[in-house]
Symmetry: C2
Amino acid sequence: MKKTQITIKDIARELNISPSTVSRALKNHPDISQVTKDLVNKYAKDFHYKPNALALSLRTSKNNTIGVIVPEINNYFFSSVLSGIEQIANQADYNVIVCQSGENYEKEVRDTKALISSRVSGVLASLCKHTTNYDHFQDIIDSDIPLVFFDRICIGIITDRVVVDDYAGAFAAVEYLIQSGCKRIAFYSSPFHLEISKNRKNGYLDALRKYGLMVDESLIRVCDTREEAIMITPEILDRPDRPDGFFAINDHCAAGIMYAVKSAKLKVPDDIAIFGFSDGELAKACDPMLSTVEQHGFEMGKNAATLLLDKIDGITHGQYTNKIVKTNLIIRGSTK
Amino acid sequence: MKKTQITIKDIARELNISPSTVSRALKNHPDISQVTKDLVNKYAKDFHYKPNALALSLRTSKNNTIGVIVPEINNYFFSSVLSGIEQIANQADYNVIVCQSGENYEKEVRDTKALISSRVSGVLASLCKHTTNYDHFQDIIDSDIPLVFFDRICIGIITDRVVVDDYAGAFAAVEYLIQSGCKRIAFYSSPFHLEISKNRKNGYLDALRKYGLMVDESLIRVCDTREEAIMITPEILDRPDRPDGFFAINDHCAAGIMYAVKSAKLKVPDDIAIFGFSDGELAKACDPMLSTVEQHGFEMGKNAATLLLDKIDGITHGQYTNKIVKTNLIIRGSTK
C-alpha cells in the first residue's frame, strides 16, 4: 500500500520558501545557502519525499533528456554554453542531446522535428543566423514541450530566455574605445535581424552619441567571421578617413581585423584599436592579446538549463523569465 | 499480412558487394560512389527494403541514440569531433547524447553508468587524462552496448578504435624542425600513460635518432595546457643549453610556449621554432601563426560514428577495426 507522497509545494508551504528554492536545494544548486539546503533536505527526509517518483509522474511518457539546438558545436562560445548546460543537466540526472543546425535553417527545422519525436523533456535553442520564420519553434510549444532560448533568441514566441546584456556590453566596449582616444569607430555585426545584432548596434550608437561622435553608416558592416573580416577590412583601411578603432561582434571577427591591420603595416593598438566580444582561448592567442567583452558562455548555459528544468518540473508554470547575464570588459593589449 | 522483408545482407549478396557498403550507400555516405549508391537504392526500392523496420527489429528495446563521452566539450579538437559525430548520426536518424567527463575519472564512471541505464544504442568515448582503470568501459561491453574509442583510446579492451597517426604526425613535425635547422628540440606531452603520448613521444624520439641528435630527457616534460606552458617554459629558456625548437602535444600548449618565448624577448621562429598539434582557430590567431599537425577532428568524428553505426546494425559483428586518420603538416610562421 502506498502512502501519500508529499510534493515540492508541500515542503515550500511548510518552510515558507518558494517551490523553486526547494527544488534547487534538493538539487544542491550553488545559488542556495547551505542552511536552506540542510533545512529542506531534513524535511524531505523526515516526510519521505521521493523526488524521482514525483518527477516521473510529472514527466509521464517523457524521457529524462533535454535537447539543445546550437548553430555550431565547434565554436568556443557555444561549446562553453553546452558545457554549462551539461553540468546542470547532469546534476539533475538529465541527459543532453545535442543538435547542430550548422547555421542552416532547414537543418534547424529538422532538428526541432527530431527532438519532438524523441519526446525530449525540454528544448534549449539558439537561432541559426538565417532563421526568420519561427513556426518550428512554435511546434515545440504546441507539443507541450518546454522551450528556452539562449543568446540568439526569438522574441516572437513567449518563452524563458537567457541573453547577455548585449546593449550594455557593447556600450561599455565602445565607450572604452572612445575614452582611450578613438574618434572613428567601425562596427562589424552579425545579420541585423538578430536581436543580438540590434542590441549591440544600439549600444554602439548610443556610446557614439553620448560623446558627440558622428555616426558614419559606411563603417557599420555585416561581417562576423575571421575570413570575411580579412576580406573586407583592407578596403576600409585604405580610405583616407580610415577608422582608428573597431568593435567586432565576436572574437573570430576581431582576430580577422587584427590580421588585416597588421598586414597593412599598421600598429595595434597605436594606429588602430580593436575590441572583440566573447572571450575564449582565441582572444589570448592574439598578439597583442584581444580586449573583449566577457560573455560568460558557461554561466549562460547553466542559467538556461536551470530555467528549463524549473519549467519541466512545473515550478514556473505560466511564468516567463528574461534572464540577463552580466558581461564585463577584459582589457588587454589590442586597445590603448 | 506482412511480406518477408529483405535485409542489407540480401542486397549485398545479390549485388556482390559487402553489407557495409550497402549500409553506407543507403545512408548516402560520402565514401561510396554515386554508381554504387544508385544501384543499391534501385534494388532497395524494387524489393521494398524497409530500413527503419529492420533497424527497429535489430535494436529491440533500444532507443535511436548514441552516447558520447568527451573530456571537454569546449576544446576545439573535441568539439570538432562532436561536430563530425553529429553529422553522421543525424544522417542516420540517430540522436547524440553528450557527456563531458571534465578530465575527471569519477565523472567518467558516472557517465558510463548513466548511458547504460539510458539504454543508448552505442557509445563513443575518449578517455579522461587520469583514467587508468577501465572497468566502467568493460561494463558497457558487458551490457551488450557497442563501444568505439577515439583519440584517447584504451588498448586493454577490444573495441573499434579511431586514432590519428600520432606516431607519423609527431615524427614528421620533429623531422621538419630538424630539417629547418633545429638541433635541440623539447617535447611537451600529456601524461605518459596515454596512448597518444606514447605514440607521439616515439615519433619524436625516432626523428631525433634518425638524424643522430642526442635525446635529452630533461627536455621531455608533462605539460599540455597553455597555463602550464607559461609556467614551466621560462626556466627552460634560461638554461645556457636552451632548446632551439619545441614540439607541443597540442596547440594550446604551443600558444603558451610562444607567449613565454616572446616574453623572454626571444624571436619566433629565428631563435626558437614552435610546432603544435591539432589545428584550429587558435593556431591562426597566434602571431606568428602556428605550424601544426592537422588532426582532422571532424573526420575522426565521422569515422568513429560510422564504425559505431555499423556495429549497432550488426554489420561488423565480431570484427574490430583500428581506423587511422592521416594527419598532415600545416607549415606557418612559427617555424623556419
